[in-house]
């Protein structure tokens, strides 16, 4: 059945629709600023995350020192003005490595969130709106992925495909897919039963229209809230992979690998090599988790939406 609305929607109407959506988004952004202004903890978290984003984007270039350059003459020196986070066993500047590590971790985090959302979210959406057969098939695939504890799955990918930062990132992406898939699916199943959706269908909206314009918008707050948690989780897992040697390989300045590097020196007094990268992970993950929490308080105070 053709979309009953098509005959009546002129390009102008469509433009008006999208304009309306843009205004909605702008309004939401404005509200978000209002929330931040009123909640001091949220403000601190936002500042920390903003700073991290800034240093990830511009830090390495601004600081200037090459994170890979070796200078054995200055090896194992403590924090100083020249090297705010000291130097490691090969004389590399830890601060430069920290900045580069921030860039690596945050970009992998963002990548994992985006791919997880797109792939897992689509799978979940399909499963939620399709009949039992498609739903079952999709969910069994998801079950197979989810049968492994997440870190273990990432380890399997890196062992099978070869160790390194890119395979590690790919492995983590795979672990986020079942999470998003199940999340979106249960959300869609819940939304599908809402009277608003029944009304849209009763008014003659075609299926894709119902999905895109009515169901998906309801899932956005779930997706936002959970994405912050996934982001933090991705950073942690990347560091874990780097730590065991399956992710980024030394001398690449990934935070987890840096901690492994610093392990041998930590108990003999050169604490800075391992401590600073760990602090970086801690800060990034805690900040995103707190943001996710606050977002949940604001967007879904009664816990109606799915969470896995």
């Amino acid at each position: 059945m053709a979309d009953a609305n098509a005959a009546f929607t002129s390009p102008r109407d469509r433009l008006a629709e999208w304009g309306g959506t843009a205004v909605d988004l702008g309004g939401a952004a404005g509200r978000a600023c209002g929330y931040v202004a009123r909640d001091p903890v949220l403000a601190i978290v936002a500042v920390v995350l903003g700073l991290l984003a800034l240093i990830a984007l511009f830090g390495p270039e601004v600081w200037g020192i090459d994170p890979l350059s070796i200078d054995l003459l200055v090896s194992l020196e403590g924090p100083s003005w020249a090297h705010p986070m000291g130097t490691d066993g090969n004389g590399r500047d830890v601060f430069a490595r920290f900045l580069q590590g921030a860039r690596i971790s945050l970009s992998v985090g963002a990548l994992v969130v985006i791919t997880g959302l797109v792939v897992g979210g689509t799978m979940g959406l399909m499963a939620g709106i399709s009949g039992r057969v498609v739903d079952n098939i999709l969910m069994r695939v998801i079950d197979a992925l989810a049968a492994f504890p997440p870190l273990i799955l990432a380890m399997a990918i890196t062992v099978g495909l070869g160790v390194g930062l890119d395979t590690g990132a790919f492995g983590i992406m795979l672990t986020s897919v079942p999470y998003y898939a199940r999340l979106i699916r249960s959300d869609v199943v819940r939304i599908r039963a809402l009277p608003a959706i029944e009304a849209a269908v009763a008014m003659g909206a075609s299926r894709p229209r119902v999905v895109l314009r009515h169901i998906v918008p309801h899932t956005t707050s779930t997706m936002l809230i959970q994405s912050a948690a996934v982001f933090g989780y991705a950073i942690l897992t990347l560091a874990a992979l780097g730590f065991v040697g399956l992710g980024a390989q030394i001398p690449e300045p990934e935070w987890g690998a840096m901690i492994t590097d610093g392990l041998q020196y930590a108990l003999t007094g050169q604490w800075w090599i391992a401590v600073f990268p760990g602090l970086g992970v801690l800060l990034a993950v805690v900040a995103t988790n707190m943001l996710a929490d606050r977002a949940r308080d604001l967007l879904d105070p009664h816990g109606q939406q799915a969470s896995v």
Binding site: P149, A156, V159, F243, A266, V275, V281, L282, V285
Partner: protein, 340 residues
């Protein structure tokens, strides 16, 4: 009820099947030579070719898969060329250490999570609630291997209060006679109290480190569930009978909050499994996790492979048990409602 169990069982079997296919594809079929993977970079071409034949890597894929699964189910988990032992033997020897560590980590996590969640929910909104919530954020965000390191630096290197990363016991001490493989239990059985004390001391930092994430996870979940349940009318009814607020919390809110929390128990096991890989390395704890990380360092991936597949089995089974258990404990599921 029975159909519920059957349904879950089938789902688990299907999931395991899918997981095994995934593992097979990733670990055996992907570009790169599994034989080379097993033998390491220094083996000669002939040995690699011979292993390829032995492993049946020239056979059709489906046949390979069937053999792979058949071997796994029979306990043939591969051979470790760097140590000269089968993987099964190595894992069997190392597992008790991991189990002991995991057990204590779990106990610590559970006890503290329940206690603090109760306090936080009871005193909702107070500074203690805020502090407890902050603690849970910390536990969820700190990389466990980093935390273990810091703990070692502080408690071992700086203050010398606790033993360093030298394993389960002091180097000079002999382990107790082997009954369960858990040093604390065996020492207790044998009456070797000095050994018991030493083993416990060595467990403190690793157990806290491993248990930190499960603790934070449980704490958040339980606190949220307690808050939800405490809003239910039956709590006020209990108080109208004369129960104190704290009494109503303990006797009515907590049992009801436990049910939804139980479903996370499987997830918890997964966290402990993955965590042991990270934590054992920091403390040189001679368990399965250290075996895995050592294997990675030596490019000997046979152990890693077996551990991966085993983890999947344990994880799926644990989640299955938890699902069934949740159904059994909830009286609403156990005894369906009658009319009137």
């Amino acid at each position: 009820m029975f159909s519920l169990v059957l349904g879950r069982l089938t789902a688990s079997v299907v999931a395991l099947f899918g997981a095994s296919v995934l593992a097979f594809v990733v670990l055996r079929v992907t570009p790169g030579d599994p034989a080379r993977l097993f033998l390491g970079p220094f083996a000669t071409e002939e040995t690699v070719a011979e292993l390829r034949r032995k492993l049946g890597l020239e056979m059709p894929l489906v046949e390979q898969y069937v053999n792979y699964i058949a071997d796994f189910l029979q306990g043939d988990w591969g051979f470790s060329y760097t140590t000269g032992e089968t993987v099964a033997v190595q894992l069997a020897r190392r597992f008790p250490a991991t189990i002991e560590l995991g057990l204590y980590a779990f106990i610590l996590a559970f006890v503290f999570a329940v206690g603090l969640a109760l306090v936080a929910a009871y005193r909702r909104g107070s500074p203690s609630d805020g502090a407890i919530r902050a603690l849970s954020f910390f536990g969820l965000g700190v990389p466990p291997f980093w935390f273990g390191l810091i703990a070692l630096v502080v408690f071992f290197e700086q203050f010398g209060w606790l033993p360093g990363p030298d394993g389960r016991l002091d180097l000079a001490r002999d382990p107790p006679p082997d009954v369960t493989g858990l040093f604390t239990v065996d020492a207790l059985i044998a009456g070797q109290f000095a050994t018991l004390g030493d083993a416990l001391l060595h467990l403190v930092l690793p157990a806290i480190t491993l248990g930190l994430l499960p603790f934070a996870f449980l704490l958040r979940l339980l606190r949220a569930n307690l808050l939800d349940v405490s809003r239910e009318p039956f709590i006020t009814v209990a108080r109208s009978k004369g129960m104190s607020r704290w009494g109503a919390f303990l006797k009515h809110a907590l049992p009801n909050a436990f049910l939804p929390t139980l479903t996370a128990a499987g997830l918890l096991l997964g966290q402990l499994l993955a965590g042991s890989v990270l934590v054992e390395k920091v403390f040189n704890w001679p368990g399965a996790g250290l075996l895995v990380t050592d294997g990675i360092l030596r490019q000997d991936f046979s152990v890693v492979q077996a551990f991966i597949l085993l983890s999947a089995v344990v994880y799926v089974v644990a989640n299955l048990i938890v699902d069934i258990l949740t159904g059994v404990i909830d009286p609403r599921v156990r005894q369906p409602a009658r009319l009137g």
